[in-house]
Symmetry: C2
Subunit: 301 residues, 2 copies
């Protein structure tokens, strides 16, 4: 499970940094979180295929988090996509997208489902056999959501050579994945650990979109393996952060520490900062495993 | 007078080529024509300052011609712009832009004027002391406009050293620019050509947006110095071009020839073509001064 950063800047593009978008890869599926202007080109640049995207989540309706969406949706149609696409976003986006398609006299050539995000509380949005996505509220100037993406375990991983060596019929493979031993006709017991190994572990990735420093959504992100938390400002500009409903690097680190996370990715940097080293130093003094996210890097979760 | 190509591709971004946008520079002013996704970043990349833009023209409401507009408008506001901005676009764009601002709880901090383009005929949209812009209808799948940008002459150009040499008071400079001679008190006649030289000539740039091959708008672009004409396809795909209301390189060249243009810029290439040399060859066989437009290049008009 990886997250590739497609944009790590706040609203004003600067220093080659793009507005927010990121791609979470889970078992070959790409879950797109936010879709700032230029996302379709950033995906091309970093070799992420649009056709592997089936779910898009938009945290809130400030443009730097969704102005790349109409272009991506359109391009998917121009390429003749047939697979369904599910979009989860604040409700007022739906009539805007419909108007954009109407004035262009465009009908998408694939099934497109708009799922409005609930205005209150947490919600299990997707519960797929491979992963789940839950939304939670963060505290911004307008309604804004964070997302928890959980990769599910697929059970134990078969060792095909070993299975053949012990003459186990393929029909039993699913049972082996669930951890069972296998008893042969001759009474010989094949222990599960001889023919399987640990499969992919359950993983949690928490995306904490534009937000004030707050403990209000801690319950939703507790024990996440990786947290992405916005830090538009350094602590010396904490007053600006508060006034604009944003956070500082120190505050992001405090959240990661309180949530007992393993790793913190820092992002959504103000265009007033060219050098981001101070963000790393500030966060690491509170939460040592803090990383300044860089566009194009795929971070292991 | 120059035009800088910010995007020369058709709808699907490909091979590093972006959707349509171009910046026409006239006496320090930037006139933006179309504003595909990523235009604000392309402007940064090629050193074109947003604050020099006072007029934006959108040819039609297919997304590859305007999806960069909300981001640019927004960014100008974030930077604290105070100068007015005039947008000329098909009328249905106005409520879409208003909705985008409303859902973000954003009020632009500068005066923003939306001018709907007329649904029929040609129209003089801007008549500034330095330049004028006229719209004309082209023939596309939806209502679509071309634009003729004309740089006005500013009269003759003063030679300050010569003016001082002949002791001409500054109060007479405006009259000299209009071509008049100057008679000194001692009766000596200073000939205009001794103290001035030719000023910038009247120039015409015609942007022929997405269109079928047609002679219908020839009267609007006759004798243009430079024509930009779309050529989404090569002539061997003329059937595709016709079916999709686009043109071929040969057809673009025919238009330039019939219009008695001096130069033809080719653009709006389909993403099916990686190599664009065949576009040049095809067009040059009909109209020799045809150029494959390249992003980032400022073409002298």
């Amino acid at each position: 499970m990886k997250v590739t950063i497609l944009g790590n800047n706040s609203a004003l593009p600067a220093f080659g940094r793009h507005p927010t978008a990121q791609a979470v890869s889970v078992y070959g599926d790409i879950i797109l979180i936010d879709c700032g202007e230029g996302t379709q080109i950033q995906m091309q640049r970093y070799g992420l295929r649009w056709r592997n995207v089936h779910h898009i989540f938009i945290s809130h309706l400030h443009g730097d988090h969704y102005f790349g969406l109409p272009g991506l949706i359109n391009s998917m149609s121009l390429l003749g996509r047939t697979a369904p696409l599910h979009l989860y976003a604040p409700a007022p986006l739906q009539p805007i997208l419909e108007s954009i398609l109407t004035v262009a006299d465009t009908v998408l050539c694939y099934p497109f489902y708009f799922h409005p995000l609930p205005e209150e509380g947490t919600a299990l949005l997707v519960d797929d056999p491979s992963f789940s996505v839950t939304s939670f509220l963060v505290e911004h100037r307008i309604q804004c959501h964070g997302f928890l993406v959980e990769r599910k375990t697929r059970g134990r991983k078969l060792l095909p050579d070993k299975c053949r060596e012990y003459e186990i019929p393929a029909a039993y493979y699913e049972i082996l994945k669930q951890g069972a031993d296998y008893e042969r006709r001759d009474g010989f017991l094949v222990k599960n650990e001889w023919v399987t190994e640990d499969g992919p572990a359950h993983k949690k990735y928490a995306y904490c979109a534009d937000t004030l420093f707050t403990e209000s959504f801690l319950p939703a992100i507790m024990n996440a393996d990786t947290i992405y938390h916005e830090c538009t400002y350094l602590e010396k500009d904490a007053d600006k952060a508060a006034a604009r409903f944003h956070s500082t690097a120190s505050q992001a680190a405090k959240v990661a520490k309180m949530a007992n996370a393993k790793q913190l990715l820092l992002g959504h940097f103000s265009s007033k900062y060219k050098d981001l080293e101070l963000f790393r130093e500030e966060a690491c003094s509170i939460f040592p495993n803090a990383v300044v996210s860089t566009e194009g890097i795929a971070y292991e979760i």
